[in-house]
Symmetry: D2
Subunit: 213 residues, 4 copies
């Protein structure tokens, strides 16, 4: 598999590149604040950059006409709409979080929310001090899954990879669902899984619920 | 509903009595270390005592020939077998934990364990310094649900009502499912729910999976 | 000791009344939204009400001319100034938190902050859904002790009595100092300790650092 | 500074080597299960190996006659006695934990234990699944500092670098002091600090209380 990375020099870009190389895949294209490096047309594009790069990303995806995995966070509703539109032309896999554990948390949320209608709910997320968006894309994804107006508390601390809690409380008890990422490699592994899945798909919009059923 | 409580003077006995009285139910029988108080035959028996009281409990249940809700913890396998046998003669509802949150945790465990076969698992429980059994009956119930040999850490601290964690970890991430009881009333409410359910059942063995589906 | 309580019908008012009665002290004055009940002049006044009651509180304190313990939270800077002024006429004990554990947390903060100058700091507080002020008075007290601009996350969940965390993080490690109140009696005991201390003091402003050295 | 590492191929050995090289120090000696590599006599020795290597370690330390920093955990009392004896011949720095945060936790313990004589105490430690000793050396160090018989709960989960909690509880409240290591580099930085300190000391036994006062 020949891959291209948009946001190559970022933390996740580097982590993905490292893992893909271990799998003997070849980097043939990259784009970041240092500009473009083109060796050959990739089989798949991966984007872990910033929302303001989106137009450039769409341009490359259409030019190469290949599937794209998008892991950038912090998109506006309008930007998300553009991504959906893109998926009518090429296969697009988009997620705000590429760990398996978060996908399990989402399924637990589905289950718990059914029996806790009048309970209070709070979301809390903690990330490293370098994180640019607040709240995290994952926290927004958790909130959307609850389908309710829920307060999100965001903590920024040292080098914390990523921690999310969804807390449900009645007057007598508390149920807490928590996910802690302890290395960025976890997310890179999710990107690998998504890429190997997406490369065999037809035009359309995909996410983890298409993989983990 | 006229009720009888075995283990009347205990923490849970008192909490249940208080709630049932608020519901205008009548205490007509009690048994504890101060002996027996009999006013009339109860419609239902509730047992929150100690394992060594079990023979006396069975004796009363058969004598009154009424449904019984059992919340005592720390039973041996043999004692649990006796309880199952009792359920061939009268309706028996038995659980090591009477909170809704713990029932939700059990369902989340079912879900998470399916996708985390090679992850490490740990159980942790914290209770007040007066708790007699170790590990807690609830922790044992969680472990049984995992269907695996799992280490249980037991902490005894002050007046903590009851806290349980099931922690799943791969090399890159951690999923934690946690339940915190913040008042004993929560358990009393579960006993009330179980009692009102059981009084309408025929002979047999029941637990929360018969109520929360 | 004959005591009066302002905010008598509130959660803390009731808890303090209960404990003081166990000590055979006598309630001789109370004030709350139901009005005033006067039996005789108290030896000490206790205020757990709301900031907008402050003028009434000061009026009573000056009229009775007795020491006053103030535990109300959510005061503005201007209101706090009025309390300081009051302490030039009668003995005043004021604290945003009456537990010993929080006093220990404050001392730990003094210690940790000395060696963690360039670390990130976050404060988190969780309280029951009925709490009117946000962030909690205790969280503000913790922040003031840090003497820095620190973000406070406030969670409102069920019937949680009161939970506070101060988290310090460098790029490689995290130190967390946490206090969890598990019953309001803890605070009532602190009020008792403060009252028995204050009744022997001369005019002035006092807090826990005058008791726990 | 020319350094030698005993336990060179281990997790900590590699981490220390990486940091020391960044500082332009030179590795001139190493020893591990692959045997000995000798380039020249080191200025300082660092041991992060296993207790059963101790005799070999002492042999090298005396042969080179240089200061030694020891971070191996799991020593028996007898082995610790041998280390103390060694410090009558060369400068020895020994600690079960090389992070600053743990040193701050120890100081907080000193403070909290003074006011919580009749409180319950529990210690909990969580480490990666590869850790060989149980409980961790750090947990033992925390327990010794409490100077009391305290229960230690040990959890082994995925790739957790190292987490320690000391929990104090009365009937009404809980104080938790927690340390979380999020990268092994933290410990390597502590080893660097200890090495640069030790190289200027005379014969004797040293630990972090000689650095952080």
């Amino acid at each position: 598999m020949n891959y291209g990375i948009i946001g190559f020099s970022g933390r996740m870009g580097q982590e993905i590149h490292k893992l893909f190389q271990e799998k003997n895949y070849n980097l043939v294209f990259s784009y970041d604040e240092n500009g473009e490096k083109f060796i050959s047309k990739p089989d798949i594009l991966i984007d872990f950059s910033l929302p303001n790069v989106l137009n450039k990303t769409i341009e490359y995806a259409l030019k190469f006409n290949v599937p794209i995995v998008i892991g950038t966070t912090g998109y506006s509703d309008e930007e998300l709409k553009k991504i959906k539109e893109l998926s009518s032309k090429i296969p697009v896999f988009q997620s705000y979080n590429f760990s398996i554990g978060i996908q399990l948390l989402l399924k637990c949320i589905d289950l718990v929310k059914k029996f806790t209608n009048d309970w209070d709910i709070e979301i809390e997320e903690t990330h490293h001090r370098f994180k640019k968006d607040k709240p995290s894309g994952t926290a927004i994804m958790l909130k959307n899954r609850l389908n309710k107006e829920v307060n999100i508390s965001s903590l920024r601390l040292g080098n914390v990879v990523g921690d999310h809690k969804v807390i449900f409380a009645s007057l007598g008890e508390i149920v807490t669902l928590q996910h802690t990422a302890i290395s960025r490699r976890t997310f890179a592994e999710g990107v690998l899984m998504a890429s190997e899945f997406l490369i065999n798909q037809t035009v359309g919009f995909y996410n983890f619920s298409d993989i983990i059923k």
